[in-house]
Each structure stands twice: as structure tokens, then as C-alpha cells.
């Protein structure tokens, strides 16, 4: 056996040089920085083609356009961080709009009451997903596929086609503004505030940790059931909030509208740097991803592309944007293997 006097505190390896540390810092954040650069590049092109892109108005409009997706994607982000996926938000969003449009009536009190109930329903439904996934050890994909169908069906039972109505005060909130900022922008600020708080809470850390390495998280004392209840419960809550916001934009209950947000919510998160294998990324990336998806639509509009070419253009822009980030991400990994 070997004998050496230990020399505590002295590390064997050379300390990394300053540029190397910088690079490490950048690489750690590459998955967020790159979508940011992508968004800036898109904005630069877009801004050169349309007047007033760099004004508050543009921010207000784009945020309003992206907010439902942002809310839906917030829940999805939390689930993806955990290493899962939630398809049921599609059903929950539909159901939420339908309940709102049939129950709100005209009174402020009933509106408030039912809003709270819808959010609670989202939580309960999400927690049910979480419980099924944990207790029966089922794949999130399958469980939420099934609950998506059940929720969407319930929405169709309540309201077979788009309809119902929302109080005018409720609608006014959706299109209102304060201090020059539209209410969706304020919502976004709240959302980010929530995120910066939540990701630092023990639960937030545990969700990310569980996605990063489930076994380690368990060995460290994380309860799999508790974590899944939180994760999917929050996803349900955000789906419900997305539904509520959506009604301020549509003024109606829409029993089939939710499915339109399932894939985009995942796409926004993935563009924003979240890995489907869990543990990496955050809401800021997702928000940027949602803006990117929205701006691509605006860009295709101002490019005045003939109608059949429009899907091609948005597909190509999306690929170019993501390709850049993927290549950078890949080379960063390669250097550190």
C-alpha cells in the first residue's frame, strides 16, 4: 500500500486558465445563449422588413400571440425537466376553455370562483397523471395520451362545438394594458418571477434532479410519488391557466383547440434548449423558443411568400435556427467527453 503525506487543499491539476474558464462558463450556458442568438438573428431580419418591430407595440403583440403557448409550455417544461412528457395538456386546455365559456356567466364572483375551480381541476388531473405514472410504473407518454383523450372527450360532451361566451370584463382584461405594457406582458413577467422563484425551491431543484438522474435523486431522499405529483400537477395547473388566457383571446369555449398546443409546447421547450431526457434547460429558454416560433410566423408573413411556399419557409427557418444551436451544442459536448 502507498503512503504519502496528504497535502490537503492543493489540487493536483493545473487550475484552468482564464479563457478556458470563460469557455466553460459559456459552454455551460450554450443551450440558452444559442436560442437567444437565434431569436436576435430572426428579429434582425424581421426588423429590417417591417417598421416598428423594435417598439413596445411589437412586444405587446407578440407576447399576446405567444402567451397561450408560453403557459402551456411552462407546464411542459417542468415535465420535460423531470424527464417526462405531458400530452394531456391538450385535453386540459380544451376542457378549461369549455368550462369557462359555459360557467363564467356575467358576474365577477362566479368568474373568479370558476377560474379557481378550473385551475384546481388542472392540478387534480395532473396529479392523477403523476399518481398513475408512479404507482403503476407506466410510461408518461401512454398515461397522458389516455388522459388527453378522456379530457378532450369530456370537453366535447360539455360543448360539442365551439361556443359559449365570456364576460366582457374578462375579455377586457385580455386586451388591456398598464404602463404601456399589455396584460400578457405582465403575465409573462409574473411567469418569469414564478420561475426564478420556483427553480430555486427544494421542489424545483428536486424535479430537475430527478430528470437528471432518477436513481440518484431517489438515493438522495426524493420521493418518486411526491415528485411526480408536483411535476404533473403543475403541468395541469399551467394548462388550465393557458386555457383561461386563451379564452380572453378567443371569447369562446373550444372543445378541440387544446391539441394544437401539444407539439408546439414540446417544440418551444426543445428549441429553448431542453433535453427530452431531462435535467437540462429552463423556462427562459422555453419562452425564447415560443417567441422564435411566433416570430417565424411573422417573418414568413412579411416575406410575402406565396401561399404554398409558406410552410416550406417556416420549416426551413426552423431547421436553420435549430441546426445552428445543435451544432454548437454538439461541439461543446465533443470537447469535454
Amino acid at each position: 500500500m502507498t503512503m504519502i503525506a496528504s497535502e490537503p487543499g492543493e489540487h493536483a491539476a493545473r487550475p484552468p486558465s482564464a479563457p478556458a474558464r470563460w469557455r466553460g462558463w459559456l459552454l455551460d450556458r450554450a443551450s440558452l445563449l444559442i436560442p437567444c442568438l437565434m431569436l436576435l438573428a430572426l428579429l434582425a431580419v424581421y426588423g429590417s422588413m417591417r417598421e416598428g418591430v423594435f417598439t413596445l407595440d411589437e412586444l405587446n403583440l407578440d407576447t399576446a400571440a405567444a402567451m397561450t403557448l408560453m403557459l402551456a409550455a411552462t407546464g411542459q417544461t417542468i415535465v420535460l425537466l423531470r424527464g417526462g412528457i405531458d400530452l394531456s395538456i391538450g385535453g386540459m386546455i380544451s376542457l378549461g376553455t369549455v368550462i369557462a365559456a359555459t360557467q363564467f356567466g356575467d358576474g365577477g364572483a362566479t368568474t373568479l370562483l370558476w377560474s379557481v375551480l378550473i385551475v384546481l381541476l388542472g392540478a387534480v388531473v395532473g396529479m392523477l397523471n403523476g399518481a398513475l405514472i408512479t404507482v403503476l410504473r407506466l410510461q408518461p407518454f401512454l398515461v397522458t395520451l389516455a388522459t388527453w383523450s378522456i379530457l378532450a372527450g369530456t370537453a366535447l360532451i360539455i360543448l360539442p362545438i365551439d361556443g359559449g361566451s365570456l364576460p366582457s370584463g374578462w375579455m377586457a382584461f385580455g386586451s388591456g394594458s398598464w404602463l404601456g405594457l399589455a396584460s400578457p406582458v405582465w403575465l409573462l413577467i409574473l411567469l418569469l418571477a414564478f420561475w426564478f422563484w420556483f427553480k430555486r425551491t427544494r421542489t424545483g431543484i428536486a424535479i430537475k434532479a430527478t430528470g437528471s438522474n432518477e436513481r440518484s435523486a431517489f438515493l438522495s431522499g426524493v420521493s418518486p410519488l411526491a415528485i411526480n405529483l408536483w411535476t404533473y400537477g403543475l403541468s395541469g395547473v399551467f394548462a388550465a391557466l393557458a386555457a383561461l388566457y386563451l379564452t380572453t383571446q378567443t371569447g369562446a369555449g373550444s372543445p378541440t383547440i387544446g391539441k394544437d398546443y401539444i407539439l408546439p409546447s414540446v417544440a418551444a421547450a426543445v428549441i429553448g434548449g431542453i433535453s427530452l431526457f431531462g435535467g437540462r434547460g429552463g423556462l427562459v429558454g422555453t419562452i425564447i423558443g415560443a417567441y422564435i416560433l411566433t416570430i417565424i410566423g411573422n417573418l414568413v408573413f412579411v416575406l410575402s411568400i406565396s401561399s404554398y411556399w409558406q410552410p416550406i419557409a417556416s420549416g426551413v427557418i426552423l431547421l436553420i435556427a435549430v441546426l445552428a444551436s445543435s451544432l454548437a451544442e454538439k461541439s461543446s459536448r465533443r470537447n469535454l467527453s
Binding site: 496528504s6 493536483a12 478556458a20 431517489f218 426524493v222
Partner: protein, 501 residues
């Protein structure tokens, strides 16, 4: 003194596999208690039960006289049992400090984790126990295995446990860090804590353990005061047979032919301008303090890290850009990687699939795999390395740590490559098998293989390698041969810049 921890007749089965049948362990506070046994004896299973990660089927456990029946790791931690798991319990995407305080983060009034406080507390903890320096704000995924091992220890200590369990905590550590941990364990015992220490390095055990308990096949077969028993007895208890010798006789089988020649090899700022020749029939040891370029050397040669410089293999220049380039046929290079869980094994796949993953073509006829031929390869390798698995279909991730390592070793042996890059190949392997692996290495060398061999245990280099290349700051500090090849000289070369001297 009454026993603080008393575990009686603990049993645990996984389906048809009996991990523990009758495990008994009694230990006092203030002692370092070693738990020994060959690979798959049930040591890790036993401590996972203590740590609440696994539930026993039967048996009784008391701690401090109270019934100890924990249902999850959290309860165990609350009762003062903290474990350094063999598989590690760290989160790759959290920083070092976040890992150490995971689930016990200091909270602000808003109930958020206080990052600053965690960093400070980490620094304090590191200082108090004289930890090797690791930056608390680094993401864990950026750390080497040895560094992770150290963080795992810090995490356990941060809970200020009454019982600290170290499951092969030194297996990935270099000599200096190992020393530190041995000292630390003694200090903790002196503070009145119970340290349960699992290791396959008997030397370590002898130096720090007050008592030892030996498991074999899931049952306790012996318990001793360390002072009153010799190594041979312990080994015989572990293996159920006498062992002849650990290190094989060393015959020089080196030929004049150069198998692998490296010129000006550089990897980022980790490896600088390295020249090295590995000959046919030779076992060339690689040594150096933790982080001085050993792993980069192995990874670069295997095409797993970007490197510059020239490589010649069996006299021909080669560019190795990927492991696939490296593994090409008889002229190839095969690697036993450092990180077995992330680089070596498909944990969810069977022992069979893992063993043969690199050599599927060997039992493919007319495009179809031949299960009989495959079974033959697999069975032979399982027998040769004494891999303890319920069946070849057992998932590799459910093997004991040492047996996982054996599967990786076997997987490499099955390839045709005659240049073997062995990065700590005996990590976690029991003494009995270790001896067999050393014998095997020398036999392979005699058959014309060329072996590059890194070990975290210097004694292995001294006893098995023909020459030892010592790295310091990513450069070749010395090549030691013959009488020069001693632990003392290796350390000297590793720590003192010979060129400057």
C-alpha cells in the same frame, strides 16, 4: 461496549436471485468496521438496506438499541445513516454545492435555496475535512469520476451522520486522495462515529479497520478484530478457498516490435506533447497524480477525445477519430473505460448483450446472429472471469459493482484488438479475481498483446507493469523500469518535476 448497530439474519432476493440470505453485522460507535466479501457477496445490497434504498425481505436491524426499519433513504438519513454509494447518488446537472446540500438546502425566507450559503458551507466543509480542492460551483457532469467520488463523500459528511457507510469509496481515488480518506475515516471514528468501510483493498482495511465482517454468498461467514487475523485467513473466508498469490511472476515478454507509438500527443490543456512507445508483449504502466493527463491519454488513444499529434499502430500511421476507428480488427485498440456506468455498460441490457456488443460480427453468419456461437462466447467469458450473474440474461445494471467491471473487461477481451488500454481494470474487483486478471494480463502480453495499464493502486503498477510512464502536468515526467519501478520512485516522479530538478 454494546453494539451500536446490530443487523441480524438479513435476507433479500431479487426474483430468483438471492442477494442476501443470512447477513449479520454488529458494530460499535467509534470504530471503523470493514465489510469484506468477493464480488456479488451482497455487501452493497446490505448497506443499501441500511441506507433505506432497498427493503429487506426479512431480518432485524437495531440502531442505538432502537428498532431500525426505514422505508426510504430520507428516513435513514434522518436517523443518522449516510452512505457513499458504490453507484454514487449525485445529480449530473447540479453543481457540486447543490449536490452536497441536495434535499437539505438552506432556505431563504422565500423558501428558496440560498446558493451563496451553500457555496460557503461547502467551502467550510471542504476546509474542515481537508478535502481535495474542487470548485463548489462546477456542474457535476464536468467532474472526473474521482472528483465525483470525493463529492459523494462530502455529501454524506455534510449530513453529520452517526453512521457513515463508505462503499468502495476509494476505488476510483488516486493514492493521495485515498490517503486522505483513510485519515478522515480514522478521525471520524475517533469522534465517536461508526464508519462502515467496504473495500477490496486489504491493505487499506488493515490500516484503518478495527474489526472486519466477511460475507460470502449473501451470508456472514466470519467476524474478527483486525489485529487478530491475517490476510490469508480473511481471503480464504471471502473466497471459500485459499488464494495462491495476488501478483503473477513477471517474465519479460517484450519484443522489439513497437505496437503503439505516440508522438507529440496533445489534448486541450490536459496533455502536452507526449511521446510514448508501447511494445509488443509489454505491459506499460501509466501513473501520475489525479488529473495529470492519464485519462486524456487513454481517451485520446481510443478516439474518445479530440487530440493532436501522430499515432502509429503496429508501425503504420493511424488517425483515430472515434472508438470505432480504434476498434478496427486485429490491428485495433480496445479500452476498459474509466466510467463504467456512462461509458462501459448498457445498464438495462443483459450481460450477454453487453459482452458481445463490440463483436456481434463474430457470431453473425449470412447476416444473422447465431445464438449458439454467441452463447459459447458468453459462457466462456462468464466462466473465465467468474462473472456472478443469475444468468447471462440478467440486466447488467443489476450486477454487483465488481461484476459490472468484469463484464466490461470481458467485453474488451472479446474484441480482436491486440493493443489493450486498461484504465483501472481492477477497480472494484475482489482480490481473488484481481489475481486472475493480472495473470491474464501477463499471459496476453506473452501472446503478443501490448497493454497500456493505468491503475489507481500503485502497487499494481509496480507488480504487473514492465515499465511505468509517469505523467506530470500532462507531460512525461519519467519512465521507470526494473529496480526504478517502485512506488517511491513513481511518486517522486509524479510530484517532483524531474526536468526542473
Amino acid at each position: 461496549m454494546p453494539d451500536f448497530l446490530e443487523a441480524l439474519s438479513v435476507a433479500k432476493r431479487y426474483g430468483g436471485i438471492v442477494a442476501l440470505s443470512d447477513a449479520t453485522l454488529k458494530a460499535r460507535s467509534g470504530e471503523v468496521h470493514a465489510l469484506l466479501g468477493e464480488n456479488g457477496a451482497g455487501k452493497s445490497t446490505f448497506i443499501q438496506i441500511l441506507a433505506g434504498a432497498v427493503r429487506a425481505d426479512s431480518g432485524s436491524i437495531t440502531l442505538g438499541g432502537e428498532r431500525f426499519a426505514v422505508r426510504n433513504p430520507e428516513e435513514a438519513q434522518r436517523l443518522g445513516v449516510a452512505a457513499v454509494f458504490q453507484e454514487l447518488s449525485l445529480i449530473p446537472d447540479l453543481t457540486v454545492a447543490e449536490n452536497i446540500f441536495f434535499r437539505r438546502e438552506p432556505l431563504s425566507p422565500l423558501r428558496t435555496a440560498r446558493a451563496g450559503a451553500m457555496r460557503e458551507a461547502t467551502a467550510e466543509l471542504f476546509a474542515r475535512y481537508r478535502f481535495p480542492a474542487i470548485r463548489p460551483d462546477q456542474e457535476l457532469r464536468r467532474l472526473t469520476l474521482a472528483e465525483r467520488q470525493v463529492v459523494e463523500i462530502a455529501k454524506a459528511l455534510a449530513r453529520d451522520p452517526r453512521v457513515l457507510i463508505l462503499d468502495e469509496a476509494t476505488s476510483a481515488l488516486a493514492p493521495r486522495e485515498t490517503e486522505w480518506l483513510l485519515g478522515l475515516s480514522r478521525d471520524l471514528a475517533a469522534e465517536g462515529k461508526l464508519v462502515i468501510y467496504i473495500s477490496h483493498r486489504l491493505g487499506e482495511v488493515r490500516r484503518i479497520a478495527d474489526r472486519v465482517t466477511v460475507f460470502r454468498n449473501g451470508a456472514t461467514v466470519a467476524a474478527y478484530d483486525t489485529a487478530s487475523v491475517d490476510d490469508d485467513t480473511i481471503i480464504a473466508d471471502m473466497l471459500g478457498r485459499q488464494m495462491e498469490r495476488l501478483y503473477p511472476e513477471r517474465r519479460n515478454t517484450t519484443t522489439g516490435r513497437i505496437a503503439l507509438s505516440v508522438k507529440g500527443l496533445s489534448v486541450e490543456n490536459r496533455l502536452a506533447d507526449l511521446d510514448l512507445d508501447l511494445r509488443e508483449g509489454e505491459v506499460l504502466g501509466v501513473a501520475g497524480l489525479q488529473g495529470h493527463g492519464q485519462r486524456e491519454l487513454f481517451q485520446a488513444l481510443f478516439g474518445a477525445a479530440r487530440a493532436s499529434g501522430a499515432i502509429e499502430v503496429w508501425g503504420k500511421p493511424r488517425t483515430i477519430r472515434s472508438p470505432r476507428d480504434a476498434l478496427s480488427g486485429r490491428d485495433g485498440l480496445a479500452l476498459v473505460p474509466e466510467d463504467r456506468r456512462n461509458h462501459g455498460l448498457l445498464l438495462a441490457k443483459s450481460v450477454r448483450e453487453n459482452l458481445t456488443l463490440s463483436v456481434v460480427k463474430r457470431f453473425t453468419r449470412f447476416g444473422l446472429t447465431d445464438p449458439k456461437r454467441e452463447a459459447k462466447l458468453v459462457d466462456d467469458m462468464i466462466a473465465q472471469l467468474r462473472i456472478k450473474a443469475g444468468s447471462p440474461e440478467q440486466a447488467a445494471g443489476t450486477l454487483s459493482g465488481g461484476n459490472q467491471q468484469k463484464v466490461i473487461f470481458g467485453k474488451m477481451l472479446l474484441t480482436d484488438a491486440r493493443i489493450l488500454l486498461l484504465y483501472d481494470p481492477t477497480r472494484g474487483i475482489d482480490v481473488g479475481t484481481k489475481g486472475e486478471i493480472f495473470t491474464l494480463m501477463r499471459d496476453l502480453a506473452a501472446r503478443g498483446y501490448a497493454i497500456l495499464f493505468y491503475s489507481s493502486d500503485l502497487a499494481e503498477l509496480v507488480h504487473v507493469a514492465d515499465r511505468v510512464a509517469v505523467l506530470r502536468y500532462g507531460r512525461l515526467a519519467a519512465i521507470l523500469e526494473g529496480a526504478e519501478n517502485s512506488e517511491h520512485q513513481i511518486l517522486r516522479a509524479a510530484m517532483i518535476d524531474t526536468r526542473a530538478a
